[in-house]
């Protein structure tokens, strides 16, 4: 080695002209997407920070800087906190409940539909009718969120024409006059049910494909080792799906931090009744609509930091060595 070290490094040559041209050529493809990203995504982000510290109402060019006044008002003034506090609470609840419910159900269905059936002939199979169930559970995915909202609105309708009420009437349950989404204590649960219903199918497929990548031999070895279906699920399948589960959690967390489209369509007063289903996205929308654009930006900034903290926390807590199959 020492011999080669003594030889002086060859003089640095300038990149050949053709190499430079090639680099420029490649870069030229990136110019447009990067520009679009900068202008349409990053720039509004940055401007939201700027506007959150002004008194901009959305249409006045002569807004003034007010420092952190808006943030203070959001938490201390009833006029604004009546929107924000419930929203924070609700998003936090959804963040815990929705991913948990979706992942648990999706895992259960994926397991049942892929390896839960009797393993006749040694090959793992799903329970009877798996093919049909797979289509059925995935069906909500092909509906747009607006359709889902309208569909469930009809189900949750509060008079006797609501599908849920009609179903309960068959069993002799009397009509609940405060309704389902018009009852402030129930509306969040109702919205979460719809969120779970509309997400399970996708993650069921996602986990199914993750499960399929587990070699069948491992299941066979577990069978020979004497593991029951339940034991195999918890001791083998689940740990090997950890990375998929973590990804699913992050995506579902993002959905839970939003939730606005459903709330807008399905709930009274778009976040009610009486802020019973208020979510951060909705608060921003309402502030914009009421001429409180700067407040809306402030809420956006809060949401930004909230999300950032959440992501950092979850990545740290779930850090783990990669398992190679």
């Amino acid at each position: 080695m020492s011999d080669t070290a003594k030889v002086s490094a060859p003089p640095r040559r300038r990149k050949s002209a053709s190499k430079r041209r090639a680099n420029w050529f490649v870069a030229s493809f990136l110019v447009l997407p990067v520009a679009l990203y900068l202008i349409l995504v990053l720039s509004p982000f940055a401007q939201a920070f700027q506007f959150s510290m002004t008194n901009w109402n959305g249409t006045n060019p002569d807004y003034k800087f007010v420092g952190l006044e808006n943030f203070k008002k959001l938490f201390t003034s009833d006029l604004y906190s009546v929107y924000l506090i419930p929203a924070l609470k609700h998003n936090a609840i959804m963040l815990i409940v929705v991913p948990l419910a979706v992942i648990a159900l999706a895992l259960f269905f994926a397991f049942m539909l892929n390896v839960g059936g009797k393993s006749r002939g040694g090959r793992m199979r799903g329970v009877g009718g798996s093919a049909f169930y797979k289509i059925l559970f995935f069906f909500p995915q092909v509906l747009s969120v607006v359709m889902i909202g309208i569909l469930w609105q009809a189900i949750y309708r509060s008079d006797e024409y609501g599908l849920l009420n009609a179903l309960l009437a068959i069993f002799g349950v009397p009509l609940k006059s405060s309704g389902w989404v018009s009852d402030p204590s129930l509306v969040l649960v109702m919205v979460m049910i719809v969120m779970v219903w509309s997400s399970v199918g996708f993650y069921m497929v996602y986990f199914s494909s993750a499960m399929a990548s587990i070699p069948a031999e491992i299941y066979e070895a577990a069978m020979i080792d004497g593991s029951s279906r339940v034991q195999t699920f918890f001791k083998i399948t689940l740990p090997l799906l950890f990375d998929s589960i973590r990804t699913a959690w992050i995506y579902l967390g993002i959905i839970a931090l939003d939730g606005f489209a459903l709330v807008f369509i399905m709930t009274p007063q778009q976040g009610g009744p009486d802020h019973g289903s208020e979510v951060m996205g909705g608060v921003m929308y309402n502030f914009f609509s009421n001429g409180q654009a700067a407040m809306a930006c402030a809420v956006g900034v809060i949401l930004f930091f909230f999300t950032l903290t959440l992501m950092a926390l979850s990545m740290r807590l779930t850090r783990r060595e990669n398992v190679e199959l």
């Binding site: 040694g122 491992i218 066979e220 593991s227 090997l240 190679e324």
Partner: protein
């Protein structure tokens, strides 16, 4: 430790009419090391999996120690299996992999510890107990897979081509380790491989299979010296036996210019069904290079140090054109490419088979 019996066991995959395993009859003694060997698709793995409980037994039965296990799930059969790809649990350490089955049976911790450590010692895995499979080499993983099976202390060991994924040198080394391990533990073992060298060296008996049918089950020596049909003859031994179909005369088989004499009974048996030809086989190591005999034009010489294998073509005059021949040559007398050498089969070392059925014609 137990006996294993296949009683006309068959496996027919749904949707196909040809059975993957066709009425297999096999009796394996207690403590025996039986090798199932054959080309891919012959049904050896399927037979093993039927014994494991991973494949259905569509017809017939499988008995372990006179207990009919044909319809029992794998865990009720008290068997342990080593897979070709090891099938180790990737998220568990070596220790946990080996302890898994015992934990499921709620074995007391102390006993689990003792058994795992014992198996680890046996396989020289003590230093690796805390590692995960991805941090192990192929050979180590293979040992862990074996350890997992050993810890179970089952009645039967099943091994499905466990050495296929190892490099040649490691394979040879591990081969002998497995054989001696089995001898030490004395557990009935059913071993599947496609490598006839492994079969010959490891098994007490070897069962050769083709297209779902058992061809011959015998000791390695018997398979080598008295193969029951053309397939077994050509399958066992490396390089393969020279098997040629040559014209049949009243007195023998016309092997090029040489005549291999046959008794009258042999001629009659060979001529059954109006056969005018007969199949003759002679191993490369039973051919000598002489001054007279079949003229072989040397095409390739494989030097192996101690000896060499000479590959060439010869005209046998049976209308098939130039046929391939392999002959083993001693270290000293190695012919050169393009040379014509004369080959003569050693007397008494020829194998005669019926030209159509391929069945062995007794001496």
């Amino acid at each position: 430790m137990a006996t294993v019996t296949y009683k006309a066991a068959s496996r027919i995959y749904p949707g196909s009419d040809k059975p993957a395993v066709n009425k297999l009859d096999l009796e394996i003694a207690d403590g025996e090391f039986l090798v199932l060997v054959g080309p891919s698709g012959c049904g050896k793995s399927t037979s093993l999996r039927m014994l494991a409980g991973l494949e259905d037994v569509d017809e017939g039965a499988i008995l372990i120690d006179d207990r009919d296990v044909s319809n029992l799930p794998p865990k009720a059969r008290d068997i342990a299996m080593v897979f070709q790809n090891y099938a180790l649990y990737p998220h568990m350490t070596v220790y946990e992999n080996m302890a898994f089955a015992l934990k499921l049976r709620k074995t007391p911790k102390a006993e689990i510890d003792a058994r795992v450590k014992e198996a680890a010692e046996l396989l020289q895995l003590e230093d690796y107990l805390k590692r995960k499979p991805k941090a192990l080499s192929g050979g180590q993983r293979q040992r862990v897979a074996m350890g997992r099976a050993i810890v179970r202390q089952p009645q039967v060991f099943l091994m499905d081509e466990p050495l296929s994924n190892l490099d040649a040198k490691l394979r040879v080394q591990t081969r002998s380790q497995i054989a001696s391990l089995q001898k030490r533990l004395g557990v009935t073992t059913v071993y599947v491989t496609h490598d006839q060298v492994e079969a010959m060296t490891m098994g007490h008996r070897v069962a050769v299979m083709l297209d779902g049918l058992l061809q011959q089950v015998d000791t390695p020596r018997a398979l080598y010296e008295t193969p029951k049909n053309v397939f077994v003859a050509g399958f066992m031994g490396s390089p393969a036996m020279n098997i040629k179909t040559v014209p049949l005369t009243d007195t023998g088989a016309k092997f090029g210019d040489t005549l291999i004499p046959l008794t009258r009974e042999q001629v009659a048996a060979a001529g059954e069904g109006g056969q005018k030809s007969v199949t003759v086989g002679v191993r490369p190591e039973h051919c000598t290079i002489a001054d007279t005999g079949i003229a072989v034009e040397v095409e390739l010489v494989e030097e192996l140090g101690s000896d060499a294998y000479v590959y060439g073509f010869a005209e046998l005059g049976n209308g098939n054109g130039a046929e391939r021949f392999v002959v083993r040559a001693q270290g000293g007398e190695i012919p050169r490419l393009g040379e014509i050498v004369h080959i003569k089969p050693q007397v008494g070392k020829e194998h005669i088979f019926h030209a159509e059925s391929g069945e062995r014609i007794a001496v």
